[in-house]
Symmetry: C2
């Protein structure tokens, strides 16, 4: 069978499964999720055996130790996948929630009710635990999913799919609700991106290259996340301790993620006191500071920032620092170089905090808190399938609710239009 | 100046205007809308003069009288545009609405607040009154808009733009919030669809050809509406009078629109009584009936339906009729041939009404009411910029709220992640 036909068949099967899935009540979905957790733990040996095949191939190919680390499934990661499944089972089911209902002058009762999106194409890179995460979020929200993972994780992904499917079957759910593309052929992604008649939405997760490829070639709507060039603006009226703690946390606690701070903007009235203090703390943590000319005079170890640094997502212990002469200059800078991802202000001033919340157009805007909180779990969505930095459908972190849409339901008693 | 540079400059100007616009409070936007209404009435002569240029060209080109009718701006249509503006001014402003706020265990207050989408590209066909409709909805929801209308309405659109811009300026709003593409070059659409760095969303309104062109070439997310193949299922437990009145209304009251009924599915236990009755009434209204074999025996004047009729959007006094032996057969038929637009059931049975509302996956699902109610005004959204038949962002009719998105706002007091 050609890969074109195989992927199209998978998509058709997913659509049929989605039609069944949208009628399934929460109890059954939760039972399947809990069974999956049990089965993953029971089948640990099988999972590790298949994962070892991937690891052996990875070593042959000379993957870095960081990549091999991400690829590895062991006792700890398998337990963590099982816990993840049980956590999703506890979350409330968005499907069927009536988000509003009102009466029209002609007596029609009009409401909006949450329904699944349908079929989700999920395209991601190496970590095989993402297979279980994504599958469970899609199942709980009533969607069928087609998972296209990285080729280096193919054996791990297929054994995980097998175990998940067995649990679906035992619970009486359609097995095609969860499908892993059983091919490492790169053409599979292109084919999937063209199946607009069967697939409702594409969610890519991975590096900027993958995301750009998907966005460019998809005929299906894509919820995508390019990059996080996150700013903290330390206002002239900032509390020094808060500013120092929050900026340090946002840069150092986990520098390799999208919600880490990449540029710090400091009001010049506080820069003289604040920059030497935070500069010392950051340098002691190994952070390289790339500063504007004024910054260089206050942090001697800083190197001059180049134009490209203001737009850079370093994902590393590097920070761009700029002194601004007003809050408006900070807002203009964010508008010019920001990525609409996450921005924070540190201030004790009420008006400025309100202005920042109002005027900054990013998916998450914070006052006196770390940018690291842009995360579905941290914000209280319960779980996260990704972060969307385009404004359509769901701006920011996406949880279960964001994997649904609403339809209108209308209760009439014979109304006609005149 | 080349058209590429012109359109790109318009998009940049729109983005700058959008940034200003999102800070504007409701009072100012409403004042601008009311002023626009006044100015349209005051400048009636100028509008009619420019419109006459379009009409003269249209006659030269030999456009049909229906097309010329749609193109014409006279006392009545100008008054109606002004009324439309005043109605939008009365609607509540979605921007700034906090749709939820909750407290996290670490004390963070997390909320979601409505913000404008940004820059909307609106691509449409002949009616120049749509220029004012779309511009007013975008303005009220805080969005800048680039309007690309039909070439045959260019003079009318440009005089309308001039009047709207003057009102923006008088109210202190950015003039580039509303821009009409001043060119009839077909390349303009292609260029606009590629400007993903400046334009947040594309809304096309027009025939299926236009929509498909836009969907195929856009690098920007598109909210689109292909077609409405709307069904009414007349259940075995339908009230005969309700069924007859609703089906007649859905087919005959305005057959040329997307929410008119195109296929009627009738349970065979009621078909013997119902079909001769409704058949007579529809035929008297000039409706051609294309039926399944069983239908032909109950409505002698009916002609045999071909396979293509089940998927057809007739937009005319033509109706496909099929007798089904169960509700599930009706649901399967809708699933196979429907367009996710609008579906209704006529029944007195509680369980069946609930099952239909639950299982039909269309943007509007009705019980005992006409499909013609799928309309933003009729459903209580206040106004409508279009209907979206894809599930992302806003499924179904889109009003002001659907021209916004939400961002997260977070009130902290020094929280960091550990």
């Amino acid at each position: 069978m050609s890969i074109d036909i195989m992927i199209e068949d998978m998509a058709k099967d997913a659509k049929a499964a989605a039609r069944l899935l949208r009628k399934i009540e929460r109890d059954t979905k939760d039972a399947a999720l809990r069974l999956m957790a049990d089965r993953l733990l029971q089948r640990k040996k099988d999972i590790v055996r298949e994962n070892k095949k991937d690891l052996a191939l990875a070593e042959e190919k000379g993957l870095t130790s960081a990549m091999i680390d991400r690829l590895t499934l062991d006792d700890k990661t398998i337990r963590s996948m099982a816990e993840g499944l049980r956590e999703i089972a506890v979350l409330s089911d968005p499907v069927g929630e009536v988000t509003g209902m009102w009466k029209r002058p002609n007596g029609l009762m009009v409401g909006r009710v949450r329904i699944p999106l349908g079929v989700i194409g999920f395209i991601y890179e190496s970590r095989p635990n993402v297979t279980v995460d994504a599958a469970s979020l899609c199942l709980k929200s009533g969607n069928a999913v087609i998972l296209k993972g990285g080729s280096e994780a193919i054996n791990s992904n297929l054994i995980l799919e097998k175990i998940l499917k067995e649990s679906l079957e035992e619970t009486g759910l359609p097995q095609n609700a969860i499908q892993v593309v059983p091919s490492t052929d790169r053409k599979a992604v292109r084919i999937l991106l063209g199946l607009e008649d069967y697939v409702d939405i594409i969610i890519p997760r991975g590096g900027e290259g993958l995301i750009r490829f998907v966005a460019e070639h998809s005929r299906i709507p894509v919820l995508k996340h390019y990059k996080g060039v996150c700013h903290i603006y330390v206002d002239e009226f900032a509390d020094m301790v808060t500013a120092s703690d929050v900026c340090f946390n946002a840069k150092v606690q986990r520098p390799g993620v999208c919600n880490a701070m990449e540029t710090m903007l400091v009001h010049d009235k506080i820069a003289g006191d604040f920059l030497p203090l935070i500069g010392k703390r950051l340098r002691e943590a190994g952070v390289e500071i790339r500063g504007c000319p004024k910054t260089l005079s206050l942090i001697p170890q800083a190197v001059p920032a180049e134009e490209a640094d203001w737009a850079a997502e370093f994902l590393d212990l590097i920070l761009a620092v700029k002194i601004v002469s007003s809050m408006d200059e900070a807002l203009d800078h964010i508008d010019k170089y920001g990525s609409d991802h996450t921005e924070a202000i540190i201030t004790k001033d009420y008006e400025r905090s309100m202005k920042f919340l109002r005027e900054v157009d990013s998916s998450v805007v914070l006052v006196n808190a770390s940018t690291r909180f842009n995360d579905g779990n941290q914000l209280g969505l319960g779980a996260e399938i990704g972060i969307n930095t385009s404004k359509l459908h769901a701006f920011g972190p996406m949880g279960l609710e964001e994997l649904t849409t609403t339809k209108f339901i209308v209760y009439g008693n014979g109304q006609v239009r005149s």
